[in-house]
Subunit: 152 residues, 2 copies
Amino acid sequence: MITNMEKIKTLLKEKGIKPTFQRLKILEYLSNNLNNHPTVEMVYEKLLNDIPTLSLTTVYNTLNNFLEKRLVFGVTITGTEVRYDFNTDYHHHFLCKKCGQIIDIDLKCAYAEGEKSIISGHRIDEIHGYFKGICKACSKNVGKKPKSRSSS
Amino acid sequence: MITNMEKIKTLLKEKGIKPTFQRLKILEYLSNNLNNHPTVEMVYEKLLNDIPTLSLTTVYNTLNNFLEKRLVFGVTITGTEVRYDFNTDYHHHFLCKKCGQIIDIDLKCAYAEGEKSIISGHRIDEIHGYFKGICKACSKNVGKKPKSRSSS
DNA sequence: TTCTACCTTGTAATGATTGTAATATTAGAA
DNA sequence: TTCTAATATTACAATCATTACAAGGTAGAA
Ligand SMILES: [Mn+2]
Ligand SMILES: [Mn+2]
Ligand SMILES: [Zn+2]
Ligand SMILES: [Zn+2]
């Protein structure tokens, strides 16, 4: 992914953010993990391999910087920590209460698609649609215990 | 609100929760603060007047109990703490980034109204619609700063 | 090179929430 | 009523994500 790195660098410059090594690697990681919706800790742990001197504070500072510049989107569906999303197009999220997976959801709805920028007189800057329940895969496995004498 | 207290007691019994004094007062407080969306701390501080021995742990335990029994709804729009909502009908929330107020939002949309219990094969148990921006009142006051012409 | 602005880092502090163990209250049996 | 087991409340410690702070590092302008 060498060409990709150039795109990442351009993205940072466009937002007026100095493309330091740490910032490049963090944004690259997010761009390669679109459906993980990683936590700060996940970003930190993974990048420690490439950057052994990396500080957790830097990851926090950098991600907050990205959030302010709207380079990434913060997903707070779990309620306990921020998950980061490189995909800033309007889309929503589903959290499986069983396996913890966060899945992208695309809805056909004027509000969901962010077409309304004013609601009841309030100026809307961000829309978060959070759905919680049991995912498709976990639903199928109801009652299926590890061993099991499965299917016909 | 003496008659109201009987309704509160009935609500608890219906959910199989023993109507202890603490629980009654906590649920009563929430029912009287439908548009505050109070924090644990707010509930605790306010009730300390009536119950000087009240423990913060009890407030946490009780509210978690109410959440499990779906007697109240947890709103995590701020990302830093849970706000409690006695109103469990499907409705959504707006957070003003300037004044911090949380305002109820009613949308006309199949998803927003919770009519779809399955989306993309996932079973939906909870829907949270969070809108963030600048509220009507704060929008009007743009530029109307007391004295100074401060920066950001 | 030297200066200056900005980055990165390590560590301490904060704040919301949970865990734990002791004490108190309650409902039901005797 | 009295006793007893189950449940509730309390005080306090621990956890975890996040922020604050202070010190050292880096790159480019002059
Ligand atoms: Mn996403
Ligand atoms: Mn509400
Ligand atoms: Zn699942
Ligand atoms: Zn406002």
